[in-house]
Symmetry: C2
């Protein structure tokens, strides 16, 4: 039972790090021996790349295959680059077709060629079919190991057929019913086969409400459907309604996790696939680009400050207080932005209800603007004993919070229209807007009265 | 097949909003008639609260129960508050025990009392057992509808028993094997029962590697285990290894989604359970608190600016440029912070590898600091033609980016030690640090040389 405790993973990792620090690679390899492949994958992701490669070379190729499917893309690619073509083929040839399909895009060209040669005709065809669909579509997610039966037979016939098969593909929870042309008719949950009498015709047992997913459906929509309907597995058909595979929930869980990770990582210009211990140069590069984007936006904001140089010169308190206005707008705007971006991603917000939402968010902006304008105004007066300055900053806060709400609602759908990921670009554009509006409102108003 | 398309949801919502705008409530209710309960739940979440209540009152209580379990906590509570005790009981009495257990915490006291009275002895005991575990533990997640068999019997006996049951609980993929004292021994996937001969003893078919989850296990660890092992369902035992229920993946998916949502929502002080259309007052309050927290931190930062009033007075370019230093540090620090917070949440980062990570992140900070210091230094010189100012800002950038990396690595584990959620407080504390260090480094260095 120990493996459900996270602490046991921590213990494992600590022991492993201790062995690696003193280069006891054999001991480290022994420590991995009794672990589940998924656990080994996690440990490999948690150690620095150099040690990772040495440890990896000590794991036998039989185990490597199972570990590979659980690794993140970047770590997998790193390990492939250190392996010979022969050992890649050896490690991967025993994998399930859908796992193999996930790995294939990361394989070096020569290894892929040799791997295809090891597959028999049937499996090669299957792999090609899965690969013919985009990786992020239902076709890319699907597993082609399905059990199909024809309609019009009895439960006994189905059970006899299943006993002939000796075992069912892993996680099979239903058999699919197809017609003569292999068109999808419905599904029978296998528990139904067990609870009904042998002489029963399967016809009334077929669940016809389980609609098939078309192979071209984007994986996000597939995930949505699984979540909404609490599905465990679902049939996949091609454009002619011919059954070609099934999607099981364990593959969908990865999509859900990745999609949600994506939002939080993107906000800082990070990639959810990033290896925590990627080489410094590799990590620097990606993040540096993001710092560069930010630099451009901050220079836009400071350009607007520079327009009020004379005013600042006259009243240095303005320079001290201006971050307050910008910052409050940034926070309020980000709240709206995240709410709207998540709402759009989860399908709760669409064009039809955006107007209602806009009214609500602007009302919140106005209300919070008034409350905090009062607080900030009083605080400013207590600090600088300057009633005019207090009024200017209070007004600037209200203006900025209203604009922040407005921008937070508009921006995501605007970015989507221009095919820009709002999770990636939303935050940085929004804070530029709130910075500029904050500085201009505050310093502009001040220039009129001081 | 249309329901897999997100666009169809958009169409539904648009039609619904159009009907609601002109108060055609009957037409709106008819539009919902043929939809899946999960879809109706989503539509209800996507419309304003006032229209939601009216529409809700038009839905018959039979359907209401199924919809309730798919609604978010806040929306559910809103609807309960508008319903009579009798109609709450009527709507909820037909629900599965585990769905009911999810809803119970949101029920008004009097409705809960009446509801318990409608349940038979067995169900009441079951519900009480589920409720005796924390909502966010394995016990709180579990379903108590399980099928158990004793060891030492044949496949035929099991199948005969199952046929007597007539049907299995929804999403049953395994039967559990227990001993005389109801202690858990292992599980048999129901597909195994179908592919083996009737006279076969079940003993060799029992999967003994599927370890049970102890009821007290936190739901996050349960989710982790399901993800790692690609589980569909798992047995739950009490501290005496007695079987008490099972967890199915559809409940775990919600945990995974919520956990991931939590990180992104918390960063802006939002609650992942928030109703997009919550009343203005309710939404304002929560967000206002967050703005207040931010105000305190920004006043800390501007206090440090005010220490350098004389220096600012002397060189107004400092006031114009200071946001650049603070902003670059904030972005770089946030990148590290999010990486580390996510790494800790997913278990890839623990105390054992934090030191290695620290070295890497500080190295990235130094490298990116040098690159952007150069760019910003040159830009500053071009703008203000002031070599001393350029050198000061360049140095301040390097200092701030190194400190930002350092804080980003340290902060999450420090906050966890003090039992503070890093997703909630990390960002705001970090940017306060980078603001203060940025302002002090930049203005402090400047005060030495101008």
């Amino acid at each position: 039972m120990s493996e459900v405790k996270n602490t046991s993973f921590e213990d494992c990792l600590q022991k492993l790090m201790e062995s690696l620090e003193v280069s006891l690679y054999e001991e480290a390899t022994t420590q991995l021996a009794n672990l589940h492949s998924a656990e080994i994958a996690r440990l490999l992701e948690a150690i620095p790349p150099k040690e990772r490669v040495i440890l990896w070379s000590n794991i036998d190729t039989g185990t490597q295959g199972d570990i590979l499917k659980d690794l993140s893309e970047n770590v997998r690619t790193q390990l492939f680059s250190e392996m010979s073509v022969d050992s890649i083929v050896e490690a991967t040839e025993g994998l399930d077709m859908d796992d193999l399909a996930d790995i294939v895009p990361d394989l070096p060209e020569s290894a892929l060629h040799n791997l295809l040669l090891t597959l028999d005709h049937k499996h090669r065809d299957h792999l090609k079919r899965v690969l013919s669909y985009p990786e992020d579509s239902a076709g890319g997610l699907m597993n082609i190991d399905i059990i199909t039966v024809r309609d019009g037979i009895t439960v006994r016939t189905v059970i006899r057929y299943l006993r002939l098969l000796k075992e069912m593909p892993i996680d099979t929870d239903q058999v699919f019913v197809v017609d003569r042309a292999y068109k999808y008719l419905g599904a029978i949950h296998i528990s139904t086969l067990l609870t009904n009498e042998a002489q029963q015709n399967i016809e009334p047992l077929i669940n016809k409400t389980l609609k098939p997913i078309i192979a071209q459906t984007p994986e996000k929509e597939v995930a949505h459907l699984f979540e909404q309907r609490d599905l465990i597995s679902a049939p996949v058909v091609d454009e002619n309604n011919q059954l070609i595979g099934r999607i099981t929930i364990d593959d969908v869980v990865d999509v859900i996790r990745d999609e949600a990770e994506h939002s939080v990582m993107s906000m800082a210009g990070l990639d959810e696939e990033d290896d925590v211990f990627a080489p410094v140069m590799q990590s620097s590069k990606r993040r540096s680009i993001w710092l560069g984007v930010n630099l451009v936006t901050v220079f836009i904001a400071v350009f607007f400050i520079s327009l009020f140089e004379a005013t600042l010169q006259e009243k240095i308190a303005l320079a001290i207080l201006m971050p307050v206005v910008a910052s409050m707008g940034g926070i309020a705007g980000t709240q709206t932005l995240i709410l709207v971006t998540r709402g759009i991603a989860t399908g709760r917000i669409t064009n039809s209800n955006l107007k209602v939402l806009m009214n609500k968010e602007v009302a919140i902006g106005l209300l919070n603007g008034l409350i905090w304008a009062l607080v900030i105004g009083v605080a400013t007066h207590l600090w600088f004993a300057d009633i005019l300055l207090s009024m200017v900053i209070a007004l600037a806060i209200v203006v900025n919070l209203i604009f922040a709400a407005f921008s937070g609602v508009i921006l995501p759908s605007l970015l989507i229209k221009f095919k820009i990921d709002p999770a990636l670009a939303g935050g940085v554009i929004l804070t530029t807007i709130t910075d500029v509006i904050g500085f201009v409102a505050f310093l502009g108003l001040a220039s009129l009265v001081v």
